[in-house]
Amino acid sequence: MTQDLARWMLERMMLIREFEERLKRLVDAGVPVGAVHLYVGQEAVAVGICAALRKDDWIASTHRGHGHCIAKGVDVRGMMAELYGKATGTNRGKGGSMHITDVTKGMLGVNPIVGAGATHAIGAGLSAKVRKTDQVCAAFFGEGAAGIGSLHEAMNMAAIWDLPVLFVCENNGYAQATPVEYAIAVKNIADRAPAYGMPGEVVDGQDAMAVFDAAQRAVHRARLGQGPTLIECKTYRYYGHHQGDNPLRYRTAEEEQSARDRDCIKRLRKDLLSRALVTDEEIVQIEARVKASIDEAVQFAETSPLPEPDELYRHVYVG
């Protein structure tokens, strides 16, 4: 772990947190940014995984995808403009929160059809294999996707073809209002890995360094042509399924507090401070940079032009 990488991880996690907290305030203030599924609490997963990836690697995401986008390097100005439905958005205002994409950053798409992204990830892995590159693709999915067939099909094909894919389960405990212990019969989703013929491990998803270490091992195997890995990150979303949902209808305040007590950003900050990888002054500087980035993103989104009406008719067919 280099000092640069450690600081990058902390700053990215703080940037995700600031983006999402600002978005929450915007939603609560009535700014029409569409349906948003906030990533607050889970930052260590996106950043821990993406810290182990190269720029030319890919990720496939879920409906709760803002954190993945930021971790993979997507510009927060384009993201915020997309949420505002502006012409300068990553998707020209035609995708919104649930479709943010930047293929130039290897971000193959936020995808609100649960499980679909995992199939695209194995396609990217297949592409790397056929074109004989050593690129890898990480497929993020929630524990709610562990019950859908597309994930099973993707994991089986990735295993039989030794594809360079990381299956990253973000087990945040809830699929909307359905608790994981109701929907999944096994204790850990990673326990299924041997049944697919791939290694699996359970990681503390609040520990960015533990996620990073697991991701590095999986990426190493993938680049050597040794196939996919399943990494289950136990994590927690601080807010509801979507902004506006009151999660206390299906979980307790005590449980929420206990998760917040294990906050991933506080933990990484403390860890880096204790290892002298960052100083208190530098953290203050990071906080200022992160706030300025999000201020600028909101300003950019607010002042950007709306799409022209004929944008509706563009890009139906390629070309």
Partner: protein, 351 residues
């Protein structure tokens, strides 16, 4: 060697499709094909066993010997997974051709086709091309002179209307060996998703002259395959052959039928159809699909909207009935539109 450029010989539609795939795979190393048993006997090469199947209509037989298992990929039975994989591969530098054995199976991969492949380019604001071809076999035989297709309700459907319905998908239905090769090559070179619907009973039955060299046939163009002046018969896939048979019978009664082969369902070549209708003043659309929310009714509605003043009779549709495809040959023959039904529809128009 120039003489080979005009050389042609008789091929079946399946052979023509095989040649299209082979030539495009030779031309472009990013073209791959995947699907269930597109080769067959996967992983058994060490026993001398390869190429045991060759796809549902045997259109991919022999490709694995030339291009190897990295580019001719047998999949498990997992349409949702491998169509999704093809979408991901198309976003990341490959031009996949995916074979969904029969169109009836789109039920298990419909999300990947209509939500993922069809919408990627649009919802991502144009930032990604999606050069993906989905080949799928469809249709029933309904020929009581011999025997029926015999595959019944879940292996005989047509269903192209539920694909053409979705913005972003191009849908082509070849009718001859010649246009099958050209349309498939156009589909492979297209930077967006194209569904190529191959009629089961044209795969081996539609024989015709096919140039040895590579050529394209334009997506989005209908073709007038028989000139006439009294009525336009509009056919799709195998129904174009039914229209030609009906035109022969009508000619015996001095009724001159023009036949338009629709060929591309989306985007539909409205102008060729409307131009024909404005000359003949009558339209019968012949469609093997179910009638409700069908291509037949869509084309009829377009004619009513845009050629009403030229029509001398109500537009007629001849379609399959609103039932599943039955098994027994006698029932299947009743199910599939035939030339008698087309002739009868024309006679009602002529009073």
């Amino acid at each position: 060697m120039n003489s080979t450029s005009v050389e042609s010989r008789e091929l079946t539609q399946s052979q023509a499709i095989n040649e299209a795939i082979r030539q495009e795979m030779q031309r472009d190393s990013s073209v791959i094909i995947l699907g269930e048993d597109v080769a067959g006997a996967a992983g058994r090469a060490h026993l001398g066993l390869v190429d045991a199947w060759g796809g549902a209509l045997r259109a991919t037989r022999g490709l694995i010997q030339e291009f190897g298992p990295d580019r001719v990929i047998d999949t498990p039975i997992a349409e949702m997974g491998f169509v999704g994989a093809a979408v991901g591969a198309a976003m990341t530098g490959l031009r996949p051709i995916v074979e969904v054995m029969f169109v009836d199976l789109i039920g298990v991969c419909y999300d990947q086709i209509i939500n993922q492949a069809a919408k990627m380019h649009y919802m991502m604001g144009g930032q990604t091309a999606l050069p993906l071809v989905i080949r799928t076999a469809f249709g029933s035989r309904g020929d009581k002179r011999t025997y029926g297709g015999g595959a019944a309700a879940q292996h005989s459907q047509t269903l192209y209307s539920v694909l053409a319905h979705v913005p972003g998908l191009k849908v082509v239905v070849p009718s001859t060996a010649y246009n099958a090769k050209g349309l498939l090559i156009s589909a492979i070179r297209d930077d967006g998703p194209v569904v190529v619907m191959e009629h089961k009973f044209l795969g081996f039955a539609a024989k015709g002259d096919v140039p040895r060299d590579s050529y394209t046939y334009p997506i989005g163009k209908a073709e007038i395959v028989r000139r006439g002046k009294d009525v336009t018969l509009c056919g799709i896939g195998r129904m174009t052959h039914i229209c030609l048979e009906a035109a022969d019978r009508l000619a015996a009664d001095n009724i001159s039928a023009e036949v338009v082969d629709v060929l591309t369902l989306a985007p539909l070549d409205e102008e060729t159809i409307l131009e024909s209708v404005r000359r003949t003043h009558r339209l019968v659309v012949v469609d093997e699909d179910h009638p409700v929310a069908s291509m037949a009714r869509d084309i009829a509605a377009i004619a009513a909207d845009k050629a009403f003043d030229w029509l001398d009779a109500p537009v007629k549709t001849v379609t399959a009935p609103n039932t599943p495809v039955p098994f027994a040959a006698v029932l299947e023959a009743e199910y599939v539109p035939n030339a008698e039904k087309v002739v009868a529809a024309v006679r009602t128009q002529l009073g």
